[in-house]
């Protein structure tokens, strides 16, 4: 079997040049979806018959929580690929995923607290779902701290990958917390295995926001990974060329550069 495509996927330079072309499109799609979803959810979706208008927080709370969890998978799987195949790019992606995941987990915690006040009468409750989300936030912060705790990048990557993989235990706990424990948090609104417990007029703007947040996540992941690539590959010729504004075609290629590039 030809594994060339797989190794090309592991090449930071290939990733950097490809995303250069994808980013403008992804940015446009993300902006449009965010705008449509926000206006639709805030102004056009009907109010909830029990919660009134406060439920509109769902249009950011649920997508942010989705991506906080999906982002953890991205981080842990990247770490696993990095450990197994000793590839550079997945490690860079893992490092990039941590601050984005932390930001989205923070968003879901804060919007949840704000939603809790008018609905439950309290900003915070040590309830299973909320506590396990707080642990997720600390895991992300832990990965970020660990990434900076080592002088040697390779040790940092390995330690982070192991912490990320161990932390995966928390993910099913978060999902199941609303079923396993008697909690204040309402059960899932959207499930793959059953019909949604929300009316179509509220569902469509919510789905729009979920897709928008997925795009936003991909966009942020690509851009943070690019920063990580530039930081770690700064001593390479192609980054030097990029810094000096020399395009790949401008410099006659030598044998040495070709072997460097294929490494």
């Amino acid at each position: 079997m030809n594994w060339q495509w797989f190794h090309r996927l592991g090449s930071p330079r290939w990733f950097f040049e490809k995303t250069d072309r994808w980013l403008p499109w992804l940015t446009a799609v993300t902006l449009i979806l965010l705008l449509v979803g926000t206006v639709w959810g805030l102004l056009f979706a009907p109010p909830d018959y029990q919660q009134g208008n406060s439920y509109r927080i769902i249009y950011i709370h649920v997508p942010a929580a989705f991506l906080a969890l999906a982002g953890y998978y991205v981080m842990a799987i990247s770490g696993a690929i990095g450990i197994i195949w000793k590839m550079k790019l997945p490690y860079m992606m893992m490092a990039a995923a941590a601050p984005i995941g932390a930001a989205l987990t923070f968003v879901s915690l804060v919007t949840g607290a704000i939603w809790g006040k008018p609905t439950w009468g309290t900003w915070w409750e040590w309830d299973a779902r909320i506590t396990s989300m707080l642990i997720l936030f600390f895991l992300y912060i832990g990965i970020m701290a660990l990434q900076n705790a080592f002088r040697n990048q390779d040790s940092a990557d390995k330690a982070c990958a192991i912490l990320a993989l161990v932390g995966t235990v928390n993910i099913p706990i978060i999902y199941k917390s609303v079923d396993w424990w008697n909690t204040l948090h309402q059960p899932a609104t959207l499930k793959l295995t059953s019909a949604p417990t929300i009316h179509a007029t509220m569902l469509y703007p919510l789905l729009t926001m979920v897709v928008a947040f997925y795009c936003l996540y991909a966009l942020a992941l690509f851009r943070y990974t690019r920063v990580e690539i530039l930081r770690r590959e700064r001593r390479t010729r192609w980054v030097a060329d990029l810094a000096l504004g020399i395009r790949p075609g401008d410099r006659p290629r030598t044998q040495k550069q070709d072997t460097e590039a294929s490494e």
Binding site: W40, L42, S54, A103, V107, P118, L244
Partner: protein
């Protein structure tokens, strides 16, 4: 049905008492999203600028060394 749900812009702002909660949530979220959006661009430019500076220093050092050998 999906239609504009409010009587006036004041109504939009207040959302029958829930406005401050809803708007605060959206404002905080969009502030964080904006931060995620802006930061990588700034860091990318900063890294490239720093690299340009280092390359210029290296080039100057090379030139000085060559001049020293020549003289």
């Amino acid at each position: 049905m999906t239609r504009f749900q409010f009587e006036s812009w004041y109504d939009v702002m207040m959302m029958s008492g829930h406005g401050p909660f809803v708007w605060a949530s959206f404002a905080i979220t969009f502030a964080i999203v904006a931060y995620l959006w802006i930061m990588p661009g700034i860091r990318e430019r900063r890294l490239l600028r720093e690299q340009r500076r280092l390359l210029a220093i290296e080039a100057a050092q090379h030139a000085a060394a060559r001049e020293g050998q020549g003289g």
